[in-house]
Amino acid sequence: MRAIPLRWRIIAALIGLALGTTLILALLARHFLALSLQTNTNVNVEMGSALTSALSLAKENYDAKKRQLQDIGQLLSAPPHRDLNALHAAFANAGLDDMTLRISPIEQIDTDLSQGPVVSKVENDQLQLVIALPDSQQALTALLSLGALIDVKNAVHTYKHIEMAEDDLHTAFLLAFLVAAAGVVLLASVTGIRIGFGITRPLHALLKGTREMARDNLQYRIPKSRDDEIGLLIESFNQMAQDLVENRRKRLEAEQIAAWREIARRLAHEIKNPLTPIQLAVQQVRDKYPGDDPEYQKFVTNCTEIVTEEVENLRSLVQEFANFARMPSLSLSLSDLNECVQNVVRLYPDARIHLNLEKNLPALELDIEQMRRVLINLIENGLDASGKNGEIEIRTYTSDDTAIISVIDSGPGVPLKDRARIFQPYVSTKESGMGLGLAVVHNIIEDHGGHISVTDAPAGGAQFDLQLPIPNRAKAQPEEQL
């Protein structure tokens, strides 16, 4: 059976986690809601009963106040006549302190007072007592507020309303919880999908990358879209791909060089062997001439000289081939590159060579003899390219973990089309020469773990940059000195 993809497992795990948590919370909420309802019901029963009793008491209180007003009305409607202060005192004595009293002419009163005092409920929740004051043409209107009783009534009404809405309220709580829970689950699902895809998408890209590598597509790169650990993984993959390309290039170059060396070795061997017999044979032809014809003798001598000269040229060519074929392995030691440069430059006292050397250049792992060969090659090339009045500048400096030596000439520069193959053997832009010089330079620098490149110098001419690694122990030196 095919395994479930990681992406879906991550999403399922996150959703399961959210659902599980929500389920636990739902059970807890349900339990607490039930507990709350049970408590609430008990409280409600007691509260309802208490409020009903309170309302009954309020009604009794209302009736009592009404009777009290009727009694005091009977009392005050009988002589003697009382002024307002005496009326207030009479109400106060009856325990009715918060009465509002007003005396007005009897003809302004709407109430029929022929039957005696009248007690009635009026607007604004007040009880009103109206009496005709004895021995006067005036009437007393007394108002008693029912504020506390009305409060009881309102409380009962509000309680009843809440009781009626209770079921809807519980349903609303449940719905609110369900919606919130659905929101949480939805959020968890979206987050799960985002995380799942976020993790597995780059893994898929890496998988595709490895497949491309397996198909020998070393140029394939994974776009880096993030800066976290996955981004670092992608970066490492791309770096690995780049290293593979570089290693392949170096291996191809090494194989090419080895092939060229083999050719050079065979050529040297095949050409060198007959050179000595040819030279001896020609000399014998010249020395053993028995005749005395001066014209012919002169002719033989000229021919012998030409052959000897060409044999010498061939010998030097063979020597060059032999040198290329027999490039010794490096003998590295910590050396001062600036000193090496200065020693080489001394060989050219008449040349216009300017030095611009970094004073604190660290010691490098160099094979001094080979490095001299490199410098001589580059200076010779530069002088050839620059002509009679040409100038050469040599700079040394450091950049990060690399020491760089630049040889800049004032010649015409290297055409762009030749730059890619100028370091290959038997490629030369000069009319003379076998094109082995820069190939040798390239090999030596690569053997040092460095890199050589050619560009146009800012002021014109060719600029050869040789990058050489700064060894760790050389970097540690300044700290040790401290």
């Binding site: 659902l19 309302l55 009962v156 009404h157 809807d168 609303a172 719905l175 609110a176 699902s189």
Partner: protein
């Protein structure tokens, strides 16, 4: 996952659509529709107009609105007439009096000390005008909608102040409201053809 969301959505919809079961109804044997002069009229008795809870609320003095509405609809859904009986019942618990105020172009007030009088006045409907003739002679459905609401707007405000959790704009307000947003459903009461109705002679 999809199934889970569907189930949740259905649950929410089902819970949201729960309608109160109406206790009030008009028995068929109490229903009498007739033509008098050029008017279609109705006599009926509403059974259980006041629920126990409503009576309980009225007895505590809660002002209650009573709405009984009739409408006539054709088979194609056209409304032929709407008649509303709107009343307001106030109970003065201190004086023990009920005041039934009819809200109409000519309001009148009935005052009584007996709730039974109120029940009778609200439940027993006599000569209710449904529509003026002529009506199309096709099957017509009489529908009724009854609403007894003991919660006045002042009371709603008082309760809202009490229940601070259901303030305007709160999350819970999405699912619960003290304001009644929906009216009771229309209920089919009777189907008839105008030509088949009895005619009552004018007194």
């Amino acid at each position: 996952m999809t199934r889970f969301f569907i189930i949740q959505a259905l649950t929410v919809c089902t819970l949201a659509n729960v309608q109160p079961i109406l206790a009030q109804h008009i028995p068929q044997d109490s229903l009498y529709i007739y033509v008098q002069s050029d008017t279609l009229r109705l006599d009926a008795t509403i059974d259980s107009l006041f629920s126990k809870r409503a009576i309980d609320a009225i007895e505590t003095g809660m002002t209650t609105s009573i709405a009984v509405q009739f409408r006539l609809r054709t088979g194609r859904g056209n409304n032929l007439g709407l008649h509303s009986l709107l009343r307001r019942l106030e109970h003065d618990i201190w004086e023990g009096q009920y005041r039934l105020i009819r809200r109409s172009a000519r309001p009148d007030t009935q005052i009584t000390s007996h709730f039974e009088d109120i029940r009778r006045a609200c439940s027993e409907l006599q000569g209710v005008t449904l529509a003026r003739l002529p009506l199309p002679d096709e099957p017509i459905t009489l529908q009724v909608r009854i609403d007894v609401n003991p919660i006045s707007s002042e009371q709603r405000e008082r309760t809202r102040q009490w229940l601070k959790i259901i303030e305007k704009g709160s999350f819970l307000e999405f699912f619960f409201s003290l304001d009644r947003s929906t009216s009771p459903e229309w209920i089919d009461l009777f189907r008839f053809r105008p030509s088949a109705l009895p005619h009552l002679l004018d007194e």
